[in-house]
Symmetry: C2
């Protein structure tokens, strides 16, 4: 499949180069916006949860999708990030960060290590971790709705709509509830896919669609991006399951082997290690095919991010 | 002060009559919108947390403010609720409900009784309570951002902006963090006011401003409504502190006397019972004065809600 892909692909995309400048802006924006006006130690916990860590995959998906759509819309490739895209990139990361804070708490996964550091509740106590997560979710929607004209109201509304659905009971929170209810159960592949489609897929796909909502895209492009996001979201989880078995905690920056320890169903327990690897490659192929079907001219960043998701080591 | 107020007030407003039809619509909408598409028991926990309980003060404030603004804008008083106002009314209640679910958890107040029923974590377990709260917050923003033209994009954006700020670290979550950090400390009145201005005041005031955002109001009206919301929000908390001392658990539907048990600073501990009662009356006076200053012609519902907040027995 890689051979097929290379034959029809554009020249190799410089993902590190593309990412670097964008991530710098995202980090600066997060540092400026997160927890700076929060009282009583809440801001420290929020900043600890968000800053200085993470691959920032979701912000990169927002920005890559926005670049693809902006180029199709006659935008210039190297145009500075517009306010809407930067806010959307930060907002999805805040939702991701809050979900990790709550997920790590004793009543959920009870994990003490995240990105190589003590988890938020270990560092700040459970009550403050709970509140910091809650405040991060609210902040995501605050970021999406600045006063003034910098972000058109229609874009603000669309971004809130996409993020609310991706985060809520028909998205991430719903997937976590399925996860919780499925411990110790033998899920079949359809059930496992449904769980992950919500738990991690919805926010990854939502990131892509939020990037698209920062520009204008026709129905075909939107449908292709939606399918790309779905395939990439699932691939991400399959690879996560593989890495939970094959990588060590130091490489992952979090506790390895915890799926098996928690008797959680995974793609590896269902398909075996080789089966899971093959499935990840199939999903990567699907993601590229969906991207090609968008008809968007500048899809190098999105393609490279899909490759990165599947070929990552942590 | 009551005498002064009566002298300048409009004829007595029929609050029960006004509330009844509106609350019926709110209850029906909540039942339609909350938890119906949530998987794996999450929906049941969300519905348990929201339906069949509560005074619905925040939705009533949204709808009363919207009525006041609509009347000034040439709207008819008995016009059916527009979609925006009904959604805003439900959204603020979801934020309130989620905050109670998280606040009752063992790592926070560790309360087992709420509205006369076992709290959500007692009924559904801590993990599901945590997720249900998270999903309710996301759902609030989903409700505010429907597809289609029923709610103008500018109104959707304004409602999300107001709700995000009221709920987040500069609002409710920030106030809860101050509360958490102040257990066992001797706060002065300024510090106590700041805590409550955020913890309960921000969402009550936000409810008023969200109602106003469903219509058009001039700067004077908005400033008056803002001041009304601030006074009412603080009055609510002062009365809460009084009731925590004077009412029993059966009347409150929650555990009475828990502030003292938790060594929390309150208006009663700071001002004494009579001092707190006098302060509540002062704040009620401020709320009415602010309302009069709006210049809005139809402010009977807002005035009656302020009276109800201060004179309630639970």
């Amino acid at each position: 499949m890689n051979g097929l892909r290379s034959a029809r692909s554009a020249p190799v995309f410089d993902l590190p180069g593309w990412s670097q400048a964008r991530l710098q802006q995202v980090e600066q924006a997060l540092s400026r916006w997160v927890g700076t006006d929060a009282p009583a130690g809440l801001g420290e916990a929020m900043r600890y949860a968000v800053l200085d860590g993470g691959k920032r995959l979701r912000p990169l998906l927002v920005l890559a999708a926005r670049d693809a759509v902006a180029a199709a819309d006659g935008g210039v490739r190297q145009v500075p990030l517009d306010d809407a895209a930067l806010r959307a990139a930060c907002a999805v990361e805040l939702i991701h960060a809050y979900s990790l804070v709550h997920d790590d708490m004793p009543c959920m996964d009870n994990d003490v290590l995240r990105r190589g550091k003590p988890t938020v509740h270990v560092q700040f106590g459970e009550a403050r971790a709970l509140l910091a997560g809650d405040a991060l979710q609210a902040l995501a929607f605050e970021l999406l709705t600045p006063e003034g004209q910098a972000v058109p109201a229609a874009v603000q509304a669309a971004l809130c709509r996409l993020l609310g659905r991706a985060a809520g009971s028909a998205g991430m929170a719903g997937g976590q509830a399925i996860d919780l209810a499925s411990v110790g159960l033998a899920l079949d592949e359809d059930q496992l896919r449904q769980m992950h489609r919500l738990k991690t897929g919805a926010l990854l796909q939502g990131s892509v669609m939020m990037g698209a909502a920062c520009g204008r895209a026709d129905a075909a492009a939107l449908a292709g991006l939606q399918a790309y996001g779905a395939a990439l979201g699932l691939a991400f989880q399959v690879v996560d399951d593989i890495l939970d078995v094959t990588a060590d905690s130091a490489t992952l920056g979090k506790t390895a082997g915890k799926d098996a320890a928690h008797e959680k169903p995974t793609y590896v327990s269902l398909l075996g290690l080789e089966g899971a690897r093959a499935h990840a490659q199939e999903l990567l192929h699907d993601a590229h095919a969906a991207l090609d079907a968008t008809g968007l001219p500048e899809r190098g960043a999105l393609a490279a991010l899909a490759d990165m998701v599947v070929n990552r080591s942590h």
